[in-house]
């Protein structure tokens, strides 16, 4: 095998039969195995308590596994913890920096923990704090920053060792849409430049738009591990919300379409994903109903996600 091909064969992350049982007896992970290819933008989704944060905790050395292994670019978390940590940048779910320190101090210190001298760390901190648009707060205590700024600081901090694998655990929780978009712009740029990204999020439309591959974890087990495209193609039913004019209160009968009245100006149409939408419009027009606008009832991935976790016996989906 040529060297280049051999190099690509080494996954960014390979989780092998990983198990975690907490002292309380809770089995958070039950034989989880997973591969994430180099350069991937990978979604790890699951309902609350499914085991996502435990898995991320094990990868980032914050949780001790009960058994099994995880290899990051070929390095085992057991055999070379330090080597693994050098490859990883972690953006945790909870704010976890010293509220009395400044963003600049936090970034430079974290670089120091990775053995990066201050002469390199200082310009690097400036670069990422500027790219994430919090440079104007760089020398103020972090307790004076807004929630969105703190989230961006955690991304800047995770970039200080310029990781080959960036793990983001719900990085946009509670962040407004504008900041969220700017964060995704930054992270997609990082991914395009070659960094592998693993994302957990409860905003499933983000996962659908950004990620190429996906795993869904539930009750400590991987219930789906595939490409986003293949997963979405499994969705055989689609639902639309139609804003209409001319609806007289009587629902027309249309073959293959289940119509539900939401109010006098709004209908909901559920149909197979292969159904011809023009036939729907024609049938509605024939009944004197004009469609003025339409939208997906739910995000496609969200619909699949709910089905998968419900099938697995979990009613409380994200």
């Amino acid at each position: 095998m040529p060297a280049a091909d051999a190099s690509r064969a080494v996954p960014a992350l390979e989780v092998v039969d990983l198990r975690k049982t907490y002292a309380s007896g809770v089995q958070a992970l039950k034989s989880v195995s997973l591969k994430v290819a180099q350069g991937d933008f990978f979604a790890l989704l699951g309902p609350n308590g499914a085991g996502k944060s435990t898995l991320i905790g094990i990868l980032s050395s914050l949780v001790n596994p009960t058994s099994g292994d995880a290899r990051v670019f070929g390095l085992s978390i057991h055999a070379d913890r330090g080597g693994v940590m050098r490859q990883i940048g972690l953006v945790p779910q909870e704010i976890n920096f010293n509220q009395f320190e400044t963003p600049f101090e936090i970034c430079v210190n974290v670089a120091g923990f990775y053995g990066i001298p201050r002469t390199i760390a200082r310009p690097r901190a400036e670069k990422y704090l500027k790219e994430l648009r919090i440079w104007d707060k760089a020398f103020q205590p972090t307790r004076m920053m807004s929630g969105g700024m703190k989230r961006r600081l955690m991304i800047a901090r995770a970039m200080m060792n310029e990781p080959r694998l960036l793990i983001l655990d719900e990085p946009t929780a509670g962040v407004d849409i504008e900041i969220r978009r700017s964060m995704w712009h930054f992270i997609t740029g990082i991914n395009r430049a070659g960094t592998t990204v693993i994302l957990t999020t409860h905003y499933l439309e983000e996962a659908e738009q950004l990620c190429r591959n996906i795993a869904i974890i539930d009750h400590g087990e991987i219930v789906e591990d595939t490409s986003m495209r293949r997963l979405l193609s499994k969705l055989d039913v689609q639902s639309f919300v139609l804003d209409v004019m001319g609806f007289d209160g009587t629902l027309p009968q249309i073959d293959g379409v289940k119509l539900v009245r939401l109010d006098d100006q709004t209908l909901e149409a559920e149909m197979p994903s292969t159904h011809d939408l023009n036939a729907l419009f024609a049938a509605l027009t024939a009944h004197g109903i004009t469609v003025t606008s339409m939208r997906n009832k739910t995000n496609r991935l969200e619909e699949l996600f709910v089905r998968l976790v419900e099938r697995n016996g979990n009613g409380a989906a994200a």
Binding site: T54, D80, G83, M85, N109, G112, F113, Y114, G115
Partner: protein, 275 residues
């Protein structure tokens, strides 16, 4: 391609030999610097209180009461208690520094910055201990400086004095680190100083010579590690002590090795830190 692009290697680059040593030294320097920065940032909590407390000790015990106490081993009572009070400040401040700083990092969860980094456990431990020892030394120097306003001192054995104060600060930094690892609440880091450290310090020969005690109190006092630190330091400053200085060194070194081994083991296991 910008500077974030990475070559796709078969195996990740590993740090070995001098590169690893350099990285560990940078990490060690970073923790120590952060600890010193923290100490100086909150100087009204870290440096001023021991100065005030010790000034009161010098006034009350040294001047007011000490003037009615006769000479001790050829020194005035004020001169006699200075080494013990300096050592008491060093011990308390080294202990207090590491417990509040390390437990604070657990409480605020920013200890995760250390746990998720490639630093080996010994670097984390050495960094925190260095910070605590430096605070102990700085406070010790301040208290010694204040003492010179009240009495004159000629340092008999400077090398013994400095090594003793470093060993004493190291022992109680390590003990404080272990305390902070097990602590779950702020109350847990106050229990040991109140119920263990204070009695041991006051019964460790700071204000008196253990040779003044009858049996079995004298023998019981010899089980107190602070007694060896105070007397070794007193030997370093005044040239007198209740225990042979080599015995004091053996006891202090044994405590350093034992406590460091326990702290490293706990850190590697992640006790109180990793789930």
């Amino acid at each position: 391609m910008n500077d974030l692009a990475r070559p796709r290697l078969t195996d990740a680059p590993t740090y070995a030999g001098p590169a690893r040593t350099r990285a560990n030294l940078v990490a060690l320097g970073t923790i120590t610097r952060r600890e010193v920065h923290r100490m100086l940032r909150i100087w009204t909590q870290t440096l001023v209180p021991p100065a005030i407390t010790m000034t009161l000790y010098f006034v009350i015990f040294g001047k007011v009461i000490g003037s009615r106490v006769g000479p001790m081993h050829g020194f005035s009572y004020m001169q006699y208690i200075v080494p013990g009070l300096v050592m008491m400040s060093v011990i308390n401040n080294a202990y207090g520094n590491i417990t509040s700083s390390f437990f604070g990092s657990k409480f605020g969860r920013y200890v995760e910055e250390l746990l998720a980094s490639p630093m080996p456990s010994w670097v984390v431990l050495t960094g925190y201990v260095s910070g605590a020892v430096l605070r102990g030394l700085l406070v010790g120097a301040i208290v010694l400086g204040i003492a010179l306003f009240f009495t004159s001192l000629h340092i008999a054995h400077p090398l013994v004095a400095i090594t003793t104060v470093i060993l004493g600060a190291t022992i109680f930094s390590l003990a404080g680190f272990i305390n902070a690892m097990f602590a779950k609440r702020f109350d847990d880091i106050a229990i040991v100083p109140t119920f263990v450290l204070a009695p041991l310090t006051y019964l460790g020969g700071v204000f008196y010579s253990v040779n003044m005690l009858g049996s079995p109190w004298r023998e019981a006092s010899l089980a107190n590690p602070i007694l060896y630190m105070v007397n070794a330091f007193r030997f370093g400053i005044l040239g007198i002590g209740d225990v042979p200085v080599w015995v004091a060194y053996v006891v202090m070194l044994a405590f350093v090795v034992a406590l460091a081994a326990v702290a490293l083991w706990l850190l590697r296991k992640g006790v109180g830190l990793r789930s």
